[in-house]
Symmetry: C3
Subunit: 283 residues, 3 copies
């Protein structure tokens, strides 16, 4: 595996050099993006580099995530990947060749991850493959994470001398300590089922049910008011670090504010009138 990753890093580096030489930084070299019925599916599409999170890949991803994010027609984002490796993490060769960019590399993924939380729509990781190191961090940082039985997750950085400290921030917040410490200290992968039991994955499904599962999730989000989801998501993340008493104090006030929203009035009225709501999707 490591050998394969090494090979791919070499290829990646060559491609990255070429890209730098030609001045290209084109999303379509790295991603496939399609949007329909309010669902934006962003697919990491650089299997030859094992979808490694080079600066260019991350820039393309960040841009694709944030594009027209205030358009009310956008209701959720699905983050998928082509190839057997969902993402192998940062591009080590890029880091070695250009050590001066290291700070930018880690900051870029932090920006993406904190923006996933800030995005006004839910972000769903659709994992069917191997998510390693920063790739595992990225998957674990989506709001919802669905993976297949054959998926694997690992944080193997220590094996090449760089402990997965940034991925550790992500996985230690969704998994019990004895499980995230195991991943970080041994570098050994866990299965999709283990990830579901541990909490990293919301759901684990057979490969042939993955699309259906994602459809059910996106459909359930699409039929709701974007304004309400956005309002709720923002407070959800705010309250996570509060003591429970403070969280309830603020949550009670949020519920009252929520009741004043146009789409909430419509939602409750339509519910009582036994009809489908007509959302405005605006604050």
């Amino acid at each position: 595996m490591l050998r394969n990753i090494a090979n791919s890093y070499r290829i990646s580096q060559r491609l990255a050099s070429n890209a730098a030489a030609s001045g290209s930084n084109n999303a379509k070299d790295y991603l496939l993006v399609k949007e329909s019925d309010g669902v934006r599916e962003i697919t990491l599409n650089h299997p030859k580099t094992l979808n490694s999170l080079s600066l260019e890949m991350m820039s393309a991803l960040h841009e694709a995530m944030l594009k027209n994010v205030n358009n009310i027609n956008l209701r959720c984002v699905v983050l998928a990947a082509n190839g057997k490796v969902w993402s192998a993490g940062h591009n080590l060769k890029e880091l070695q060749a250009n050590p001066e960019i290291k700070k930018d590399v880690f900051q870029k993924l932090t920006d993406i991850i904190l923006d996933i939380r800030k995005l006004p729509v839910p972000v769903i990781a659709k994992v069917n493959g191997f998510a390693a190191a920063a790739g595992c961090q990225l998957a674990a940082s989506c709001d919802i994470v669905v993976c297949t039985m054959s998926s694997k997750f690992s944080t193997p950085g220590a094996g090449v001398g760089i402990f997965c400290s940034t991925p550790g921030v992500a996985i230690s917040r969704v998994m019990p300590r004895p499980k995230s410490a195991y991943m970080l200290m041994t570098g050994l992968p866990i299965s999709g089922v283990d990830a579901y039991v541990a909490g990293l994955a919301t759901k684990v499904v057979p490969e042939d049910e993955l699309d259906k599962e994602i459809d059910e999730i996106t459909q359930s989000i699409r039929i709701k008011s974007r304004a309400v989801i956005s309002f709720g998501k923002k407070f959800y993340y705010e309250q996570l670090n509060m003591p429970v008493e403070e969280a309830y104090l603020q949550a009670g006030a949020k519920m009252c504010d929520n009741l004043e929203m146009t789409d909430c009035r419509e939602g409750i009225t339509s519910f009582i009138e036994k009809r489908k709501p007509t959302w405005k999707h605006e604050d």
Copy 2:
């Protein structure tokens, strides 16, 4: 399902109006309460409103929980429900009809939940059915949660325009983030087994073993000193939000204080003397 809930809300609203008109606020309209051998079982008993947490239901529940709570004969509280819906959460029609009470509605459940933590005896949720929205919040806020295989849990508020922000405080503190975010953003239910894996439920059992499981739990609590359980429960909740070093510092002091308690001296002495302890149950 939503249609059924809508129907029941209408019924609930009518009953609530009637109750308000007659000035009645009688626990027996909403609850069954029985107490024997130190176990107080409070059963939500308003299946026609899907045990919705109207202000009157919550007042009755709060009162039933707190009644004679300092009597040393009370050793634990079991919170159960009649009907297929354990509780459907707050009464939306009540909220719409009387918007001025909204603050009171959310505050009331917060009071109940924070009082569950403060109660000097353990509170056990016995769930055999559907716990939704504030009903899910209430179940998740008990000290111990036992559910059946066929039980379901959901936070579907966003579907009618009101994001389950207060239930989110409860479920995000007992489940990994990717699982609670899924429940809140999609509104989709999870099964009893999923709830057990996620951490919301302490145990999941077949329906015909639920009573036996609850009996084992209440029996194990009844044979202990109420004073010791109360002392331990209080500190347990205090230390949850502390950094581990501070928690151990205070826990060590608590262990020393515990050793000075009359029932602790009796417990250790009886243990060494190979006889059953005779508890005083008082501080």
Copy 3:
């Protein structure tokens, strides 16, 4: 069970008295310690006292853990136990006979547990038996916890009048609240599989696969740079209590520092050069 524990406490107390009388405090009375290929295996070896954590046992354990800890040949510690009881927790009779030592008893285990976090190498609990009270606390406090299917974990102190407040600090940080509260308030044991699902155990394996599982873990650690593991472990515990934004800010800086380490340069270079790394293991 309690009867058996009572018996063993009596035996333990007699042995402890003898030890005190003779002035002996010899690790080999309590532990077996062997070290090979960088793995130090410390085995609690006082089955007659159910490996109870008397002051002498804890002193021996603490000493064995810390011995030559800065020697770069030490790569990880495995904490095992002989007998059907991994450890029954503190020695109640010791506490009763010498109440003046109570503060020292709880402080000693806190010191051990906080030192497990500070140890520059991973500590792996290898559990094949019953880990109760402070024994459960000790197991849950190792970086990685592997148990067998037939293992059990409990915090039964309240049954003899002393609530497991210090064990509660440990288990409430690796398990969801409704599960740790259940253990503390009922004293009932959970199985190895329950412990795996709850998060207390990293892995649960059949008894005849325990050695192989531990070997795989220690082998994966041994082939890495001790300096890198130590660096990563230190920050891992530091970031656990930080808000996510602060954790990422500091983690990004740590990644940059990590890249400057000698063993990291070697790791990445060897990776790119398709050869095995030659670690220095020093900061």
